[in-house]
Structures are given as C-alpha cells and as structure tokens.
C-alpha cells in the first residue's frame, strides 16, 4: 500500500468497548440528548471556534469589531437620549451598553441556533450528531461575543466614573441565567423553524418589537407608573435588571427580580430541552 493506515489502534480500544446502538433502548430522549451532547463536546468547541474565526477572517478590524459595534451604538444612543430626550438616567452610557450587550447575547443565541440548525441539515441527514449541538454552539458563540463586549463596557464605566465594586464578582450568575433562558428559547424555536421556513424571518420582527418593549435603551421610568407592572411579565426585563444591578448599583437586584429571573431560566430551559429532544430525531428529514 502506498500510504499506511494510521497506526493508532482504535480498533483494539473499540473491541473492548464497541459502541452498540439499539433503537429499542431509547427511553428518555431528553437524557440521552444530554449525554450525546457531552460526548460531542469537542465538536461543540470546534463549531464555536469556526463561528468566531469565520466571522472575522475576512474583515479588516477582525475581532475588534465585536467590541466596536456596541460601543458605536452606545455613543449614538447616549447622544440621542441624553441630548434629545433628556433622560434623567444616571450613567446612561453604561446603562444602555449593559442592556444592549445582554440583549444581543440573547438575540444572537436564539437566531443563531435556527440558522445553524438549517446549515447542519445536510449533515444531519448523513451522520448522527446530537441535534442540540447547533443551539449549544450558537450559545457558545454569543457567549464569547458577550465576554468581549464586557471590555468596552468596563472602559465606558471607567471613563464615565461608575465605580467598580465587589458586586461585579456575581456577574456570572445573571449571565448564566440569561444563557439558560436563551438556550431554552433557542431550542423551542429550532424545532419550529425546522418545520416552517418563515419562522426565522417572523422571529426577527418579533425580536425587534420585543427589544423596544424592554427597557434597554430607555429607563423604565419613562413609562407611566400605572403601566410599569407590565414589565414584570417580560423575562428579559428581569434578566437585564439582575445583570445591570451589580454593574451600576453595586449590589444584587431585589429578591423578586432574582427569583423571577431564575424561574424564567429554569422553566424555559427545562421545557425547551424536553420539547426539542422529544422530536430531535425527526429534525433530520424536516430540514
């Protein structure tokens, strides 16, 4: 033979533990989907790396763009809202940037999951992959972007004189809860998007409306006090509040807000996971 087959003897290792697939042995799709996702964790890393690399490979500013984009948006917002609408929001620049960063994290995860699942449709028809890997890689990609956006956020905080307080250390908690909520929504949408081509498009319109209904770029006080209770129905409102609190107030948000966020995160993820994995093996021939 002109080229040797690689010497590493996987066959030997496999004979001890040869994988056996039995379609009759699938009792708990939610659990087995989770197990398979863990098995394919290296692929997950590769997909995230691919998303990040390919996004910036052919642009001049490269990864800087991730940081510049929300920063420029924040500058525009600050100019418009502080000078035109004259909001009385202390530290408006940091307030808006924090809101936009977390909102983008959510929006990118949910839309990315759908487009990645559609990209993977061709592959899923040929080889087995845990279907949730596409939602997970969208989440991972947006998480990297969020962490990169924290850099300009901290810069803006330093410039505008927002003090850095020890409460910043609890920042991973709101990020984790938002990630769980976003993954749950992403899974529900992915399953629906596999059946209907226009879901992504419709969702984007919905997303824009949702964004303006959430106090991200405006303080919630501009809404009349009689209507402010309506924000309580919006899970993203709570999640953004608990994300901003350690940054701007220097303490945790109120217990009700924390509880509402946690409930939204756990319930959405649990339902999304169950809903998605129940039909995961049908997605291959739907896409």
């Amino acid at each position: 033979m002109s080229a040797q087959i690689n010497k590493i003897n996987f066959a030997e290792r496999q004979s001890a533990k040869m994988p056996v697939y039995d379609s009759a042995l699938l009792n708990n799709p939610a659990l087995s989907e989770l197990k398979d996702l863990w098995q394919y964790r290296d692929l997950l890393m590769q997909l995230i790396a691919r998303n990040i690399k390919t996004r910036y490979k052919r642009s001049v500013l490269g990864i800087l763009w991730t940081m510049l984009n929300p920063l420029l948006m924040m500058l525009v917002l600050t100019f418009v809202f502080s000078n035109v609408f004259r909001f009385q929001q202390p530290h408006y620049a940091a307030y808006a940037l924090a809101g936009v960063a977390l909102w983008n994290f959510f929006a990118q995860t949910t839309t990315g999951a759908m487009s990645e699942l559609i990209w993977g449709g061709n592959l899923m028809n040929k080889i087995y992959l845990p279907r949730s890997i596409f939602a997970a890689s969208a989440l991972g990609t947006s998480l990297v972007n969020l962490l990169l956006t924290l850099i300009p956020l901290f810069v803006v905080m330093a410039i505008t004189g927002v003090p850095f307080r020890p409460a910043l250390l609890i920042l991973p908690l709101p990020i984790l809860l938002t990630a769980m909520f976003a993954l749950g929504v992403a899974l529900i949408l992915s399953r629906v998007a596999a059946y209907f081509a226009d879901v992504l498009e419709m969702y984007q319109i919905f997303l824009t409306a949702w964004m303006y209904l959430t106090p991200i770029i405006y303080p919630k006080e501009i809404i009349s006090p009689d209507l402010q209770w309506l924000f309580n129905l919006n899970p993203m409102y709570h999640l953004i509040e608990i994300f901003r609190a350690p940054l701007l107030i220097g303490w945790l948000a109120g217990p009700k807000t924390v509880l509402a966020s946690a409930v939204a995160a756990f319930v959405t993820l649990a339902f999304g996971w169950w809903y998605f994995s129940r039909k995961a093996d049908e997605l291959a021939y739907r896409i």
């Binding site: 080229a3 087959i5 996987f10 994988p19 697939y21 039995d22 790396a49 690399k53 592959l123 879901v199």
Partner: protein, 570 residues
Amino acid sequence: MSLLTESDNPKPIDRLTETAASDNEMVIRLENVSVVYQAPRERIKTFKEYVIRKVKRQVEHQQFNALSDVSLELRRGEVFGLIGHNGAGKSTLLKLVSRVMRPTRGRVWVKGRIAPLLELGAGFHPELSGRENIFLNGTLLGYSRAEVEKLFDGIVEFSEIGDFIDAPLRTYSTGMTGRLGFAVATATRPDILIVDEVLSVGDEQFQEKCAERITEFRRQGTTILLVTHSSELVQRICDRAAWLDHGKFCGIGQPAEIIHLYHERYHLTSLVTVSEIVESEPIEPKPVEAEPVVAKVIVTEDFLAEETETLSEIIAVSREVLALEQQALEKEWFYPYALPSGKNVQCYLPPEIATIHANRWAMVKTVLRQTFGQNWSQLDCLDIGCNQGFFSVKLAEQDCRSVVGLDARQQNIDDAELIRQIYELNNVSFRLGDISKIEPTSLPQFDVTLMLSVLFWQENPIGVLRAAKALTKNLLIIETPVAPEIFGEMDWGSREVHKPLQGSFALLDLTEESKRPLGSMTDLSFCPGRESLIWLLQKLGFSSVELVLPAPDAYEQLTSGSRMMVVARV
C-alpha cells in the same frame, strides 16, 4: 474508474474465502422495521399558512411508508449492495443504520463505529484552513480532539495536501477537497462503512489508493454497505445484495440473482449499459438519492366486462348520424372507434398495438375512479393533444360536466368533431391549440388534465409541463414514453463544486415525424426520463406524484416501463 472497482488491479477479490475467514458476528440487524413519514397532504411551507389552515381545519395529513416491515441481518466483513429506484427506500435504510433516523416500528441494532463517505465538501467550511477543517470534520465524525491530533499527520499525508494545509479551503481544487474528505472519513478503520454512491475522488492514482484502503478495511473485517445504481458494480464486489422497491425487499441473496430479478422487472438492460458507458467517461456517475418520490402506486383495475357491456347497447341510429358514420367509414383512423350502428372504423394501427388505447383508458379510469368515485358529473376535463378525440369522447361518455379536447392540427380537430356528432355528445368540444405555445390564462382551469402521448414530442417539455400545471386544478395525468436515465453529477465549478443530476433528457431528431399528421409539431424533441419527469413534476409544485401501473396483460411498452403513466396532484 470508480473507487470500489479494481479494474486496474489484476488480483480478484475472492469474496467467499475472505469473508469466511472472519468470524460470523452480527453487526447490523433490522427487525421488522417500518418507517412512516407523516406529511401534510399539501406541502405547507410557512408557519403563517399553517396557522391559517389549522384555524380553517384544512391540515390533512397523509402517511406513506418509506419502509414497510423490513428485516435484514449483516455480518462482520460482508460487502452488501442495495439496489432499487430513487424513492425505493434505500436512503431511508441507510439513515436508520447510521442512526440519523429512528424507525416508526421495529428495531434497529448496530454494533460498532459507522463511517459514512460523505458527499464532497460536506461538513467543510470554505473560509477555514485545511488544518482547521480536519479538526472540524474529524469531530463531526465523532472523534475527540485528542484523537484527531493523533490522526492528523496520517490524514495530511494520505490526502497529499502538503503545504496547502494552512491555506483556506476555498483555494483548494475539487480533487483536493475530495481527498481531504476521504482521508478524514477513513482515518481509522470503521466497523461499518457506508458508501451511498460510486465515489470518485481525484485522479486515477488517488482512486487506486482509496480502493486499496477500502480493500484493506474489508480484509480486517469492516462491513461495507453500498448503495448504487450500477448493477455491474454490485455484481463485481458484493457478497450479497438486496433489491428494495417501494419500501420492501423484493429479494435478498446472491448479487447475480438479485440483479437478474431486478432487470427482469424493469427491462433495464439498455439503461444499465448507458450508465456504464458514462462511468468510464470523465464525468463520473454519482447516483443521488432524492427523498422518496413515488409515494404511491395505482394498480389498474380491469374494466373490460363493463366496457363491452356499453358497446353492446346498440341503439337506433338516426339518418343524420348514419350519414356522418358514412364519412367516418370512408377514412382511416388512429383509434378503433366503434360506431353506434355497430360498425367499426378502419384503424390503421394493427390490433395488437391498438390495444394500447384501451389499456391507457383503463389506467385513466382507475385513477379517476379512485380519486372521484363513480360520479364524474362535477368534473371539467382537458385533453391536451387530443388527436382524434378518443379520450375526450370517453370522458364525455362517462358524463363529465365538460370536456375540452385541444390539438394543434385542424385535421384532428375536424375528425374529433365528426366523432362527437356521431356520438351525439354535447358535453365535449374541440379546439385548435398548441400546448407549447398556448397562453395558459386563455383557458379556465380544469379538474382533470390528460396529457397522453404528448410530452415526448415536445422540444420544450418543461414549458409544456408548466403550462399544463397552470391549467390544472386537481389532477394531471401524463402518459409518455420515457428516455433512459443517466445518474450522476456535473462539475459545477469551484464554488458549488458539484451539482447532482435530477434525471436526464434524451434529445431526438423528429424531422420525419414532424411531417406526419400525427406526432410532433417541431423537428426536435427533448424527452424526459422516468426519474426526471417525476422529479420535475414535484419541482413544479405538484404535491404528490403517483405511478400508474398497467394491467399485467397490457401493451408491452407500458408493462416494460419504456412508457409510463403518472398522476400528479396539485
């Protein structure tokens, strides 16, 4: 040259002794497996539409069996070939084995690591370098990162990429991409190798290298599951073969035996020869599995008794009709019309060929009966290329509300009109028109459109099908001779790499035929093949396409498959 053949390699593979040497361990077992697709009767593409229909309660689901009650056992080291038409269930079976799909009923059991040979470029990203793509593709195939690292040098060496390894994949040639894909997929010996087509990768030297690697895998006990259209290949390299048709095995056994059965059913000898000629050409055939296309087959019922009964009812014939009959008896006809007075017109087709008209009518009647029941009084029908009006008259006799016969020749229209007067039918009219030139909006839509023996005369068959689609509210029934098919793919340039062929068309010279009263209006024809026609009808938006099988004693061309009838439903 195809990858699995060893035509340049004189040593024959002795399949019996070689597999006997390995133990007889079972690696794949399918137990009474069925796969039922549930699909909305009409394809609902958007969520908006779905919601609207759901509210109106218009979502009807229909099921079709991609596989029904299939059982199969494969042992270690076997090379197993799967043959059958597109839509027979071959890719569904592969999907079950590779865990992509779960059976609706029954059990699938697979032991060992499965490697699919993916189509060119699947799972690669053009912007990433070769190195990055190896890791991406390797982990896609289920390796861990550490495993890919260990395999990395071997992959690079085998794929002969060399210094290009750090260049983005979009700069690679088709051959390089193919080599890289093959090298990653076969970096370790899989227990089961799935080959869903005759692969062609790179130049001949590299193909030989690939063939060697596969042969080596086989020697070490890899089971190979091969799906192909080339029965010659199956016969040459497979230990066993199976023929899948409409979701069922028509036979499992010795390759030669199975292929014989397959050919006998479809009279495919000529077709096979054509695809093999192409195989040696630079364009390699690469059969592409479409989603199951023909979901249902309609078997023609026997109406003979019923038909003769109506003919035996000889009624009193008026003087006017007798005069018209006289005109009819003075000329030769394409159709064997039986006149009300009991006489038959002179038919210039020999009786054994003229039976085709009765066969086709039985087929059309079966379809309409199964769709609309016995009462057709609400149906508006169009008969495209009605010729002397045989089928228009038949439909009118069955009390359809209205029938329009369309033909491009005035002589045919006049003949048909004569028959209409003789039969005293008021629900049928004939008009002059060429389907390839007609403006579809100039006519209303019809419940049923017939297009019998029309398509193979057309130089623009796709345009004609579009026009026919536009004119059809419900059913389009097409009957035509079909061209032999070539499967494979076409080199499509660096970006898209390859385009699969969705079937093929035959280009025919009809200079002679175009001068005759019957036949083409143009001196060229572009005749579709069986698969291309079915695919095309679906592409044009028909929700289902069904094959109408003739009665077993029907005209030879219909039973052999060189002519076929399909029903396309809007």
